[in-house]
Symmetry: C2
Subunit: 327 residues, 2 copies
């Protein structure tokens, strides 16, 4: 039910994922009167792997997480997370209120032993592929110990998903020198550096966020959210300027027509939807958060991310790593 478009986006994406993964079963939790119109004329081989669970309570974006946790226990999001907690589902995917997803996720699924707070991690584009940035908004205030836990969890994700044996870890800061930044990042830098099993490369400036210098970059949730969204904002500005510069004269429009295949290719490389599917790391289950503005294609990437994490049994991998190094 979440995101800017609700079932209009989530249901077609779900049907697409069911077609691509013949073993996949999806529980579709929400207002069935809104969901049903999108299920007409669908093959039984697809719909038979769909479990419909009705809930007409929706957590809105303006609801406080604490309110949602206490009073909206019959909401679609709460029921979906409860499915994971109960072992009915391997993963939960939502495009809804991030704060509520985090608060309810922590409450019903619980964090892994040794992890104080879950974090939101997402891939960011680089010249050769992608790096991962966490936390992206789950925790507005973090201690150095939290950043250390983020570094461990991010490393395990990169090892599992990308098969990199020793992922390079950096701490996001306003300068590369040791004296730069606030107490929190300087202490986190020391803790991560001392941690056996982490390949720490030092501070990363925000200008190197998309350079591929590090495989995993850690920061608190406020800073991570600002870093990601401000770069999205600039990308949008550049996009609108490019469109404007290709309008006007006939010659310019002809040029735009000729250059289109290249621009489409370029857009695909830095397309945020390809990087949709932020994961909540640190829970005893898999929760993937889709961008609220996701279209069908974007939401499908979030579903793919959940499938991949379930196949890799990511929470178990993080758990054993944390037990070895952080306890």
């Amino acid at each position: 039910m979440g995101g800017d478009f609700g079932p209009r986006v989530t249901v077609p994406a779900v049907l697409d994922a069911l077609r691509r993964h013949p073993q996949l079963v999806i529980h579709l939790i929400g207002d069935q009167s809104q969901i049903n119109p999108f299920l007409k004329r669908i093959k039984p081989s697809v719909t038979e792997r769909l479990v419909l669970v009705h809930s007409d309570t929706v957590i809105r974006n303006e609801d406080k997480p604490s309110y949602a946790l206490r009073h909206l226990r019959d909401s679609s999001m709460f029921l979906a997370l409860q499915c994971v907690a109960d072992g009915v589902a391997d993963a939960c995917v939502s495009a809804g209120n991030t704060g509520a997803l985090m608060a309810i996720g922590r409450h019903v699924i619980r964090t892994l032993p040794g992890i104080d707070r879950p974090a939101i991690i997402s891939p960011v584009p680089t010249p050769a592929g992608h790096s991962y940035l966490l936390d992206l908004g789950a925790n507005v205030d973090c201690s150095a110990e939290h950043l250390l836990q983020f570094a461990v969890m991010g490393s395990v994700l990169v090892q599992s998903v990308d098969g990199i044996a020793h992922p390079q870890v950096g701490v996001l800061n306003i300068g590369e020198e040791e004296i730069k930044g606030n107490e929190q990042v300087r202490l986190a830098s020391r803790l991560i550096d001392e941690q056996a099993g982490l390949n720490y490369i030092g501070f990363i400036e925000a200008s190197d966020l998309f350079s591929g210098k590090a495989d995993v970059i850690v920061c608190d949730g406020f800073v991570g959210n600002i870093a990601l969204k401000s770069s999205e904002g600039l990308a949008r500005l550049i996009g609108s300027k490019v469109s404007a510069s290709f309008r006007g004269s006939f010659y310019r429009r002809l040029l735009a027509f000729l250059a289109r295949p290249m621009l489409v290719q370029l857009q695909r490389q830095i397309d945020p939807s390809r990087h949709n599917g932020a994961s909540l790391l640190g829970l005893q289950g898999i929760v993937v958060k889709s961008h609220g503005a996701a279209n069908v294609k974007c939401f499908r990437y979030a579903l793919e991310q959940a499938v991949a994490e379930a196949q890799m049994a990511l929470p178990e991998k993080i758990s054993s790593r944390v037990a070895r190094y952080l306890s």
Copy 2:
């Protein structure tokens, strides 16, 4: 002497500024043996408005601000700021160590009554022109009261420089809703909202940083630095992807040749150098900080900014506004 290139960039930019402003006098403070080679074959009508002051002590980027303040009092940066404090110069321009510029500036020039901390402000590109963002790294930890002071100072700058009578002020946050963010931004939002004389429009998400929604956007220095540099980083990634996509086949290279005028025009619109010249607001004098990587053209923009602020008597304007509203 500062920045990545020192006199090789700063001296030609200074000569250019002297040519453009027949009333301008510039004190060139630094190692004269490094400066002199760039002064050969220059017209006397230009060089006669140049005051050469020797100093062979340079504050390096890795020097701690507190160390520079205590032990590098004969450095070029310290002497330049002293010129402003003594009334010998109306403004100081530097591409050097930002932390040292701030620490020494505060010490020798002093803050305006009612201002606890100076802030670094810079224009950022928007579809229709630019907005201003502050603080950009002068203060890694800020209270809500500091953010209020930043809002007042930024408003005065926009009123003076851009002639906007009631600049729209926003607070950078990880969401637009009142419940989002940390204690600091929520309290700052209330303080700024209650302030008569400020046109407060609420929280601004980082994705709207380049949208022109607000004329002035305030945040603490850690967050502002990350926001600006991460978007610079993404712009660089896009630039490299564009270059790569125009290489390859003969057809692509031909297309690149034909599209060049448009790409150059586009680059000019979002060129950071056009937006070079961050100002230290809140001091009893004018200090402009150039990007360390500035080329001659960029450094000239920083000089132009200093000239404009001196002509407008910006510190006096801020002072009278602060006296009216914040005392």
